[in-house]
Amino acid sequence: MMKNLFLRTLAAIALMAATLAHAQLRVEISGVGANQIPIAIAGFADESLSPQRISAIIKADLSRSGYFKIIDTDKVMSETTAVNFSEWKSRGVDALVVGSVQRLVDGRFDVRYKLLDTIKSSQLSALALAAQPQFTRVSGHKIADDIYEKLLGARGAFATRIAYVTKAGREYRLEVADSDGESTQVALRSNEPIISPAWSPDGTKVAYVSFENKKPVVYVQDLINRQRTIVANYKGSNSAPSWSPDGSKLAIALSRDGLTQVYVINADGSNLRRLTNSNGIDTEPQFSADGQSIYFTSDRSGGPQIYKMSVTGGEAQRVTFNGSYNISPRISPDGKTLAYISRREGRFQLYALDLTNSQEQRLSDTTKDESPSFSPNGKYIMYATESGRRGSLAVVSVDSRVKHSLTTQAGDIREPTWGPFMK
């Protein structure tokens, strides 16, 4: 009995040490939404059993979302604890989160939770999640996703992952982390630059451009088995991979015919097809969510602007008309919003264009923004920027009010790509 406890404690410490060994990203919140739901998250019964405190993960997620005001409480409440709704209501709490953690015989942790509406004195939701110890954080994020969805009406994106590139000294790394910057893992180390990472739609692979061959080459890497495939290494430069929604193809930019143009290729590198044919540079292709269109950057009119064309070919229509320099198009999952980087008076800033009414809005106050990426629920955009002469990541809500940043302890972080929803 004692030996069991000893071994369990050792395992827990080892797990924590392993997690801490990776450099974590620091989150700093600088903006919140217009309306915030006051919510209290009780300590979960026995939550010190699992490697991570579930209630802490939920609090951090909801806090970061910008749409919740966390009302402090030091109460510990399981899903079976009696609730005095009117007392919580009188404290200004609209929603209450309670739960418990149990260790199962097979080593997994069983996390149960309930979301309670104090005004209606009713239960809004309940979940039971069993997962291995190393996935405790994911269980916390899944609960936060459920709370977000039940109270805000949109799917939460806390249980998603991000990938990004870091540069420290002469070493470049492609890293994967949870969307809150925790649990960082290194997917690729290199002495040559890595740019343009892009998640596959199923979240198991990342496409990217590596300069390890002393020229830009497009790779696809399977994160699980570490297998790498060269998708495009034609004469000249190969870059800007973007996955089709079904994961079977990539749109890429190749200079093999002289000027950089957009092509489509199978994810295994077969069946190359040229898509654009202009007198300018065509690059940064992005599949629309329905897979029927490709948005891309082109300077065929003199300066770079964003265009849209059918994936089967044909004429391209210009989409951006404000300013003389618009690049890095990203299309929201619902197809209604275009995010991009625009240079105005020498400042490179993140903008969003409502495609239904052509209204444009500047989303950032920084001046060196790059590579935006939508969260899979379309509510947030992550992008790279500079903070104190170092590269950092920032997240902004599509209405520009919610803001937070993710910074590393040392070196630069850039080129973020937000991963898809996963089971």
């Binding site: 740019i195 300069f211 020229k215 430069s237 930019a253």
Partner: protein
């Protein structure tokens, strides 16, 4: 043994001379002149060995030659080879035309301002500009590959006009 050494030196010189017809050895090894025939017993001057410096005949290795210049610089927002760099491009063009087994990679670069992928394409334009100039001079495409580093591998890391100018550049790299 001494005569063998002298023989070797003479044969090597002859081989060098015959291999590189475009380079002449202007100097002949000094020849020892004997004084008026007063019979001397010792003849140490026979043991003299004067050094011949064999110059590498590949002009690519001449640190002072025009082929030592491998970088072409570009103005802001410009992707054409300026007149001042045409002699350099011309010299490499001539070298490649007469050395058909040599290949080059032209690496195009931009300064740090702007997006990564768009700058990769702009750097490619700078590499292509040099590549096209060489093609016009008759160098086959098979000897040239134009690639871009965009803004990823800057030579100068400052954020000022001088650093930016240094980075707007195509480099010729012999394989």
């Amino acid at each position: 043994m001494r005569s063998f050494t002298t023989f070797t030196v003479l044969v090597s010189s002859a081989i060098l001379l015959s291999a590189c017809s475009s380079v002449k050895l202007d100097e002949k090894p000094p020849v020892e002149e004997r004084a008026a025939p007063a019979p001397v017993v010792s003849s140490n001057n026979d043991r003299a060995v004067e050094t011949v410096t064999a110059a590498s005949t590949d002009p690519l290795d001449d640190k002072n030659g025009i082929l030592a210049k491998r970088s072409i610089y570009f103005d802001l927002d410009s992707y054409v080879v300026k007149d001042e760099f045409k002699p350099v491009v011309g010299a490499h063009g001539q070298y490649l035309s007469t050395h058909k087994t040599r290949k080059i990679i032209i690496q195009g670069n931009t300064d740090e301002r702007g997006g990564r992928e768009y700058n990769l394409a702009l750097g490619q334009k700078r590499a292509e500009a040099v590549s096209k100039a060489l093609s016009t001079l008759g160098v086959p495409a098979s000897q040239i590959e134009a690639v871009s580093f965009g803004k990823e591998k800057p030579k100068a890391t400052g954020s000022d006009d001088a650093s930016w100018a240094e980075n707007r550049r195509s480099d010729i790299v012999y394989q």
